[in-house]
């Protein structure tokens, strides 16, 4: 049904004819009004004489490639900029958008529209956003050759496009975003790592816009995946309250890393806005030097008294569901909170509920002090094939844990 398709490059400069078939002018641009309809072209802007005129969708009778746009009502109003209008030529063409399914940032070369006759008139809807070589070719030669030739010549070039509903327009200005009905909620379903990659490619203003609007939890997950320097610049650009909401959702060690990149005053401002529980954890972590065990560790672990039973451990886990995803070791501590044993989580499955946890402990307890160096830690992980390494303070009290993913991040940065 290729005949029903019309490219924006073809629409532009198409003649517009009044009821008697006299030419009024040529098409300059087309606009959506997203609050009314996300895909239907609502207005076509026509340049005739000195001013531009606005053609409403219901004033169009037919749109034909080669002949032009035939109107059924020629009472045209002069064009003036309307805040609710998303103009294809001005706001979309040549700009960057997010391809939600392809999970990347792309640049718009052309827009494919669908022409559909509803019995009375032709209706134009945005169908695809064109990227890639075919649309570049089309844009370069449009106007130099007849459209029909161009359509034939472009055939051998493979098309590359994004369906309109999976294209997310970028708009840093919050007010305009509201008026154009642009939301970033589609981005929230993406994997945080993909979202992070996308964000890294955008300009600071667009980055800020995304983090300002998306859910704090998603924002926190994505932020954790971003390069520390950029993390800092994003947090700085946000309002302290919003930054605090995001930082609260981050793992405390990652939150501390991100805050340590900021200037002291800024990180204080953010900390002040945070809830007291996560705040004190992050504050403690901030005390440690970045490249020591203390700076790398997080406080997301489960510890039990050394005399506890398997049943107690299960009860303890029930209270910490949010940790389960990455948990693989339990720790036993004595009455003074000193670390005494580590238990691989999987051993619980095979144990009797009334068995003592101590009987399931690993043979050798490997632990490090908070000021141990990064190099030594990675060595330990390699040597003992660790997933989790407990960190203790000067008194032997359990202070936190370092997990394999922290070590991988360190190694990657080298």
């Amino acid at each position: 049904m290729a005949d029903n398709l019309l490219f924006f490059t073809e629409l532009v400069s198409m003649p517009v004819l009044d009821i008697k078939g006299r030419r009024i002018g040529r098409v300059k641009d087309a606009a959506l009004v997203p609050v009314a309809d996300a895909a239907r072209i609502d207005r076509i802007l026509v340049g005739g004489g000195d001013t531009w005129l606005t053609v409403r969708a219901d004033q169009i009778r037919s749109i034909t490639l080669g002949r032009g746009i035939q109107l059924c009502d020629e009472q045209l109003l002069p064009y003036h900029d309307d805040e609710y209008m998303l103009r294809i030529g001005r706001d979309l063409l040549d700009q960057q958008i997010i391809d939600v399914t392809g999970r990347k940032v792309v640049r718009v070369n052309d827009v494919t529209m669908h022409v559909h006759h509803d019995g009375q008139r032709d209706i134009l809807t945005v169908f695809e956003v064109d990227i890639g070589l075919r649309s570049i070719f089309r844009r370069l030669v449009q106007g130099l050759l007849p459209p029909a030739w161009i359509r034939r010549l472009q055939q051998p070039i493979p098309p590359n496009f994004i369906r309109w509903e999976f294209a997310n327009v970028l708009e840093p200005d919050p007010l305009r975003r509201l008026r154009l009905n642009i939301s970033y909620s589609k981005l929230e379903d993406m994997h945080p790592a993909d979202l992070a990659d996308i964000v890294e490619e955008l300009s600071p203003a667009e980055r800020e816009a995304i983090f300002e609007t998306i859910d704090s939890e998603v924002a926190a997950d994505a932020l954790s995946e971003i390069d520390p320097k950029m993390q800092a610049s994003i947090l700085e650009s946000l309002e302290p309250e919003k930054a605090a909401d995001i930082v609260e959702e981050m793992a405390p060690d990652e939150a501390a890393d991100a805050l340590s990149e900021l200037q002291d005053e800024t990180s204080e401002e953010i900390l002040d806005e945070m809830d007291s529980a996560p705040k004190s954890e992050v504050r403690e972590l901030l005390e440690f030097e970045e490249d020591t065990a203390g700076g790398m560790m997080n406080t997301e672990y489960v510890s039990l008294h050394q005399n506890a039973l398997v049943a107690d451990a299960l009860a303890g886990l029930r209270g910490n569901e949010d940790l389960l995803e990455s948990l693989n070791t339990l720790f036993l501590i004595d009455a003074e909170e000193r670390l005494t044993a580590a238990i691989p989580l999987a051993r619980l499955f095979l144990a009797q509920p009334d068995a003592k946890l101590q009987s399931l402990a690993s043979d050798t307890l490997i632990q490090v002090n908070v000021d141990e160096s990064q190099d030594r830690l990675t060595e330990l992980f390699d040597k003992y094939n660790l997933l989790t390494l407990p960190v203790v303070d000067e008194d032997g009290k359990l202070a936190g844990v370092i997990t394999a993913d922290d070590v991988i991040s360190v190694l990657r940065q080298k």
């Binding site: 570049i136 844009r139 955008l202 300009s203 600071p204 667009e206 950029m230």
Partner: protein, 414 residues
Amino acid sequence: MRQLLGRFRYHILVFLAVIGPGFITANVDNDSGGIFTYSAAGAKYGYLPLWTLLPITLVLIIVQEMCSRMGAVTGKGLSDLIREEFGLRMTFFIMTLLVLANMTNVMAEFAGVASSLELFHVSRYISVPLAAIGVWILVVKGNYKSVEKVFLVGCLIYVTYIISGFLVKPDWKEAAIYSVTPKLMLDSGYIYMLIGMVGTTIAPWMQFYLQSAVVEKGITVKDYAASRLEVVVGCIMTDVVAFFIIVACAGAIYSVHPRDIQDAAEAAQGLKPFGKYAFLLFSAGLLNASVFAASILPLSTAYSVCEGLGFEAGVNKRMREAPVFYLLYTLLIVVGAGVILVPGFPLVRMILLSQVLNGVLLPFILIFMIKLINKHDLMGEWTNSPWFNAISWTTVVVMIGLTLALVGISIRGG
């Protein structure tokens, strides 16, 4: 006091963190072509041309500063901005010229590799393929951080020129006097040389490279003060190197017998009477400059083109993700290095052609830059102030005039 120290430390850290883009871009300005221009000036006219370095530094700073400011404020590359503001056709036109101009520039760089190593009796059939493969691997297998580190080491190697300048024991008093005394002569050779020196100061690719590098490094408005300082220091350092090249050639060649030299390798030969080291260092500098520019030019070209036309780009991407980027990058190296190995290839005419192409391209780039930097939507409060605009327009007009004059002279002479 402690807070003051802390703040000072923060600023130093910020400065170190932004080092890279400005230094590298300014240094690559002293590529094999640049070294030849300065050597030839020193060999023929001794210390007389030294005064031009001061205005050259100024011009370099003014233009580079605008680029890095645009990069830091918008978070977008220059070709991105040209695309967004001036459309696909203009971008395509500029990118085509850029690829052609840079292709010939790359040829000149590999010719520099060949001639500098031939001084050590290494055949170009060994040196050029090895350099090409080395350059290709460096970028394809590296990531932005490691590549930048290698480039920064490349910047340090320019010190060889400063040392060889000292080894020649030039007349420092005269050098000092002529550095600040403008000297004009109505001698066509002398005027041609002046135009050549200033005209080659700003090449179109530099603006693209600098701005992308600033963006890639994640420099934002917040770090901009440090980034500007970096650009200024980089430009000054570059012209200090240029100063020593001229002085070395003035001391070694001009003071013995003023003459025309044919290439930079001949200048190195001329240093031989002043000891093995003066010669060695000068040639090593030439080799370094050529390899350095040969790695950056193809990279920067591929980047700019992909950014502008909307293809994925970046050394952090894999080959499958960014095919156009890697294809273009590889092609520039293969062709650039390949033609040097073709016996009887008209290299001199190619270099002339590259000058012409650069000359055609530069007015577009500079005018676009000023137009872009004055767009309030884009730059907000960071647009040029009126007096800075006056200075930059003057600079741009003078640069365009000189570049076109250079093109005219080259065409007539060649």
